[in-house]
């Protein structure tokens, strides 16, 4: 996408609030901008976090079980043990993110209290609220949230998310859903770009998105915050595919530490995101990576087994 994220961060409230307030949106979106062109990796302990850091990850997501294991083991998936998250925070110098259940604002308060750098209000965990997402503006910690389409993305930004990721289907190693969500976003934004204000008002109602944010998105030709791809990315080619589709960076969950040679694959995916437009480099880094994660075919999954439907 030839469109750029303007340097003055906005969240649909006109100009950026120019206050020194701690909850300042510019500071929250600022960190997301620093992560662009990078890879954020799921890690379950300090050892994996070090491997990710050495591979060139721009941040790590600390969680007790990667999505593939959550899927296999079933049960209720909750916020990770703060002790384990703190160990990872003390081990690496890059930003550390952690997941809270959708709507579970107390898990978010706990993550903020231990000084987490980003909170992922995530569908990978079992939702805690049947209808409400967390009101995110009042937190000092910035939030990233998942989306499948434009309406979902803009609702999350309106609640205070400073960064968006497409949901994909976590823990599968199948990139089809990440592609579907990125293509859906792109198509909806392209459609909105050619609309008059009156038409945008109707669209805002249809996709249940705030009109101001939708109008800003239509003007920019992209989401007004940083947007990463996530859910099913398992190879350097997958990562570059998502970058060429227009995302700003990628999350890799189970894809790295469920593969044969995690360190090597992690490095290769980092290189692929930097050189996403250079097939020669992509060919080089794709060589001899050992086994990719086995994966689950999304098309043969039951709807009830999909995580992407969580959140509203």
């Amino acid at each position: 996408m030839a469109t750029e994220l303007p340097t003055r961060a906005t969240n649909g409230e006109g100009a950026a609030p120019d206050t020194a307030g701690e909850q300042n949106f510019t500071v929250k979106t600022g960190l997301a901008r620093m992560l662009k062109g990078g890879v954020i990796m799921d890690v379950v302990d300090a050892k994996q976090a070090r491997i990710a850091e050495e591979a060139g990850a721009v941040a790590v997501m600390a969680l007790e079980r990667v999505p593939a294991d959550i899927r296999a083991e079933g049960g209720v998936a909750r916020m990770s043990d703060p002790k384990m998250i703190k160990e990872i925070m003390n081990t690496v110098t890059i930003p550390v993110m952690a997941k809270a259940r959708i709507g579970h604002f107390v898990e978010c308060q706990i993550l903020e209290a231990i000084g987490i750098d980003y909170i992922d209000e995530s569908e990978v965990l079992t939702p805690a609220d049947h209808a409400h997402h967390v009101e995110k503006h009042s937190f000092k910690s910035p939030f990233v949230c998942g989306c499948r389409n434009l309406g979902e993305a803009l609702r999350r930004i309106s609640e205070g998310a400073a960064m968006i990721r497409t949901k994909g289907e976590a823990g599968t190693g199948d990139v089809i859903e990440a592609v579907r969500h990125m293509r859906t976003l792109n198509a909806e934004i392209a459609h909105a770009r050619n609309m008059s204000d009156a038409e945008l008002r109707v669209l805002a109602k249809d996709i249940q998105a705030p009109y101001d944010l939708l109008k800003e998105t239509a003007k920019l030709g992209r989401l007004p915050v940083v947007n990463f791809a996530a859910g099913g990315i398992a190879t350097p080619a997958d990562a570059a595919l998502m970058m060429q589709l227009g995302c700003d960076g990628v999350f890799v969950g189970s894809g790295i530490f469920k593969s044969g040679d995690a360190a090597k694959r992690a490095k290769a995916i980092v290189q692929a995101v930097t050189h996403f437009n250079d097939p020669k480099v992509l060919a080089e880094v794709s060589e001899d990576l050992g086994e990719a994660m086995v994966g689950l075919n999304c098309s043969s999954m039951d709807e009830k087994d999909k995580m992407q439907g969580r959140g509203w």
């Binding site: 750029e4 994220l5 303007p6 340097t7 003055r8 961060a9 120019d18 020194a20 701690e22 300042n24 510019t26 500071v27 600022g30 960190l31 901008r33 620093m34 992560l35 662009k36 062109g37 990078g38 070090r50 850091e53 050495e54 591979a55 060139g56 990850a57 721009v58 941040a59 925070m89 081990t91 690496v92 110098t93 890059i94 930003p95 903020e112 000084g115 987490i116 750098d117 980003y118 000092k140 910690s141 910035p142 490095k267 980092v270 290189q271 995101v273 930097t274 050189h275 250079d278 480099v281």
Partner: protein, 284 residues
């Protein structure tokens, strides 16, 4: 022929290192700055701004910005795509104008601490010791108004009276100014948890035009140092406060992010400095 030669001389290519981070934001601000410069009466230039990912792209540049991002990631990616030595040539041997913001400042430091286990590769170029993540984690990130006296050097009127809104994201600071030494900062390497950049001698043909003087403090942040604990405070230069902008022989570093504001004043000032340095080099 004469006019063609003149035309060539007004062309300046500025690269932004695009391995990772907020490189596009710098390109937007550079374009805004160039547009303002074009409306002034000063020396006119034909500016080209480009993303730099390879040695060939770097070689085509007269000046370079190393953007904010994760310094460990940028350093590791640079190492793996064989960009570290070309970057050291550009900054330290050819001494071409280079500006680093946040992660870029860390990479341009001759010494750094609080880096990841096992350290990281530095490019070097500024005789300073930089402390990573000085203010703490993301929840300690902040905005502050800064007075930037160096903007008065600019030929363009930059409404200097207005403070500059600076954004600090998990920001580093310059903890200590180091004496300029022949070779690497080996004294620094003896300190706990401190890493240094390898030495690269300046090209003698450019040495005449470049004054390798001591590091100049361009801006300090008042009043924040009190927030850090006493042990850390002892390591800081007593008079310096929190140094957040420095310059030494064509190399400029800021620990904050002018590229996250809509304010192109520092970019305008820097492009003027670049134009001067390029003229000097081309013997204009």
């Amino acid at each position: 022929m004469g006019s063609a030669g003149q035309l060539m001389d007004t062309e300046v290519t500025v690269g932004v290192l695009a391995l990772q981070g907020a490189f596009n934001e710098h390109i937007q601000l550079l374009r805004a700055a160039a547009q303002i410069l074009a409306g002034k009466n000063g020396v006119q230039r034909t500016w080209t701004f480009k993303e730099v990912r390879t040695e060939a792209e770097l070689k085509s540049c007269d000046a370079l910005i190393i953007p904010g991002g994760e310094s460990t990631a940028i350093s590791l990616v640079a190492q793996r795509c064989n960009m570290l030595e070309p970057l050291r040539d550009f900054v330290k041997v050819s001494r071409k104008p280079t500006w680093g913001t946040c992660a870029g400042l860390i990479l341009l430091a001759e010494a750094a601490n609080q880096t990841k286990k096992g350290g990281q590769e530095l490019i070097g170029g500024l005789d300073v010791r930089v402390k990573r993540n000085h203010f703490g984690r993301q929840i300690e990130s902040f905005e502050a108004n800064l007075d930037l006296p160096f903007l008065q050097e600019a030929e363009s009127d930059l409404s200097q009276n207005k403070p500059f809104r600076a954004i600090f994201i998990r920001a580093p600071i310059v903890e200590k100014l180091l004496p300029h030494v022949a070779g690497a900062q080996h004294e620094e390497a003896k300190l706990d948890g401190t890493i240094i950049a390898p030495s690269r001698a300046i090209d003698q043909t450019v040495a005449k035009a470049v004054d390798l003087a001591d590091v100049e403090i361009m801006c300090s942040l008042p009043g924040r140092t009190t927030a850090v604990n006493m042990k850390t405070k002892d390591n800081l230069d007593a008079e310096a406060g929190d140094i957040v902008a420095v310059r030494q022989a064509n190399v400029f570093g800021t620990s904050f992010h002018p590229e996250l504001t809509g304010d192109p004043r520092i970019h305008i000032w820097w492009l003027e400095q670049v134009a001067k340095a390029v003229d000097q080099r081309r013997g204009a």
